[in-house]
């Protein structure tokens, strides 16, 4: 099918964006990324001697996957802006997954700091993809600031609780003029399928794949799940009925 995901000035055939965190090693990660069919994958920015850094960019290059640096762990707009600028120099990309979280227990975004960081980075020429909560107001504010997409959560990072509030996601989709990318909370393939059926443009997930018992199999499952949901969203599902309706002719 010809139904590309368009973000800013780029087009992708895959609507599954993955993360690289949580994988036990790079070999497992590479197999999972390949199975997922992803074309865009997040990386974190850390001090060069930080363990685990080595080699992740080489894996992405081998697979022809664009890196999407994130600002994971930042608590303030200032930290996030600095991290984004360092990422731009390190990776030569002005795209950033903007994360500004309020605390470690929920890893939920801080709305005020997130808005400030987004405004600063957009002024600075970045293509900003903000990780946000599922508040339709905050999503609209981020779009109004000029974010290239909005990335609401389904549930908090790493919980695997899926889409806790489909109504909010539908409200966000109903008013958005940029791609809505469901980020965080996905636990299994049916979550990804549902997300796309709700009208989201893409899914971003990491540990649902990397921490599954069989990351490669789950990555393949997610690839199919996203395709299934995207197609179903466009195919015009049957209405729900209270009483039954026969599918065979009367005898």
């Amino acid at each position: 099918m010809d139904d590309p995901l368009v973000i800013g000035d780029r087009q992708y055939n895959s609507r599954l964006i993955t993360g690289t965190g949580g994988a036990t090693n790079l070999a497992v990660l590479e197999r999972a990324l390949k199975a997922s069919g992803t074309e865009l994958t997040t990386v974190s920015i850390r001090r060069v001697d930080t363990a685990g850094g080595t080699g992740v960019l080489e894996v992405l290059e081998r697979l022809g996957i664009d890196p999407l640096p994130n600002t994971a762990g930042c608590r303030t707009a200032a930290e996030a802006v600095l991290t984004a600028r360092m990422a731009r120099e390190a990776l030569g990309t002005s795209w950033v997954k903007l994360e500004v979280v309020a605390d470690d227990r929920t890893l939920l975004p801080d709305p005020v700091e997130l808005l400030e960081a987004a405004a600063t980075l957009i002024d600075d020429g970045f293509t900003v993809l903000p990780y946000t909560n599922d508040d339709p107001v905050l999503a609209l504010r981020l779009e109004e600031l000029g974010c290239a997409a909005v990335m609401p959560l389904g549930s908090p990072i790493g919980t695997g609780l899926g889409i806790r509030n489909p109504h909010n996601i539908e409200l966000i989709v109903a008013r958005a003029n940029v791609p809505v990318i469901l980020d965080a909370g996905i636990g299994t393939a049916s979550d990804a399928t549902l997300v796309m059926e709700l009208g989201c443009s893409a899914v971003l997930l990491a540990t649902a794949v990397t921490r599954a018992t069989d990351p490669e199999a789950m990555a393949t499952a997610m690839r199919h799940g996203v395709i299934a949901g995207r197609l179903a969203h466009g195919a015009g599902r049957v209405p729900q009925r209270f009483w039954a309706q026969a599918s065979s002719p009367p005898r």
């Binding site: 790079l26 990386v43 850094g53 360092m86 997954k97």
Partner: protein, 66 residues
Amino acid sequence: MFIQVNGSERDVPDGATVTEMLAALGVPARGVAVAVDGTVIARTNHDQTVVPDGADVEVLTAVQGG
């Protein structure tokens, strides 16, 4: 001269540029970003920018995450 690199003291040639500092530290120039005393040094300026003595330097790169 001595500078702080990612929080630990390191000895690099006096008057080293960012590019020379990275070489001295044995860090590949590719895929890293450098901030000197809190200022991000654009990759294009690595050759010209001299690292001051006692500078506080951050050298970052991409790792698995997110």
